[in-house]
């Protein structure tokens, strides 16, 4: 993780992609979102979705996993170059989350993240707040997910 001072508006990270299998879709749905179109191929066929598709919460949770895996690799590369790695804090929230198209069983979704704002926090010394637009795109090039998130990022230590 870069320090807040090294993050620029317009920075884009490609976060990798993920294949959504029918098994994983049903496993997530059975725990958290057991609506018929997320649980059963035959039932899904009879709905407006037309086929088994992932819970939107599964899609965004998988975005998170890809983001963390990407960040870990980037952190390792920073350490290998002898650079210090910044800490991140929790996210206060997200907005404008759009599930633009269904994520069907067998779809591979490529996730990306673009920095759209950065703010210093006078009342929280040591931390800055960045805002990113996150997207998921399927193997046909269709945007399936878009949302705006913010996150606390550590500032460069003051000497």
């Amino acid at each position: 993780m870069k320090y807040f001072e090294d993050i620029r508006i317009g920075d884009i990270d490609t976060l990798g992609s993920h294949l959504f299998t029918a098994e994983a879709i049903k496993s997530f749905a059975a725990r958290f979102d057991p609506q018929p179109f997320h649980m059963d191929e035959e039932a899904a066929k009879r709905t407006h979705f037309g086929a088994l598709c992932a819970s939107g919460w599964h899609t965004v949770s998988q975005w998170m996993r890809c983001m963390i895996d990407h960040r870990r690799l980037a952190d390792e590369a920073q350490r290998a170059r002898g650079e210090p790695v910044a800490k991140n804090g929790p996210s206060p929230g997200i907005r404008d989350n759009k599930w633009l198209k269904p994520v069907y069983a067998g779809d591979t979704i490529a996730f990306a993240s673009e920095v759209i704002d950065r703010r210093e926090l006078p009342h929280r010394p040591g931390w800055g707040l960045i805002t990113v637009r996150n997207t998921g795109t399927n193997q046909h090039g269709d945007l399936v997910l878009s949302f705006i998130a913010s996150e606390f990022i550590e500032r460069l230590p003051q000497e």
């Binding site: 979102d33 057991p34 609506q35 179109f37 979705f49 919460w57 998988q62 929790p90 996210s91 997200i94």
Partner: protein, 154 residues
Amino acid sequence: MSDPKLYFEDFAVGEVNTYGTRIVTREEIVAFAAEFDPQPMHLDEEAARLSLLGGLAASGWHTCALMMRIICDGFVLDTASMGSPGVDEVKWLAPVRPGDSLSVRATVLETRASNSKPDRGFVIFRYDVLAGDTMVMTMKTALMAERRPAGAAT
């Protein structure tokens, strides 16, 4: 699957219902984090204590998923649901800790029949997720629901 009991027409602006509760265990917090959000503040007590969260806390996405399960069991599975186009806003207001008892207070903010598709409408909800008396998350989102077909039981 049994026939849905609730259609678009059955949701009234201003209606408030509370669903749950559900106890969140340490095991499920760690299991969700290991699968989807493997950050130390969601996985490890000691690392979490040193983080801004000040102790082990659920991933915000886990709270979203648990909210979804509570409203599924509360009313969504009895509704002619067509899914959701998205979420206007999610605010994670306070950490969800092991042992917290979660409930969801659902308020109907607005109902809007689809202009382009006569078979459906949108019900805009605010969902407040409470751990005991503390609001830990609030969300504004739409549920897309089928309109009541002619001849369906009311």
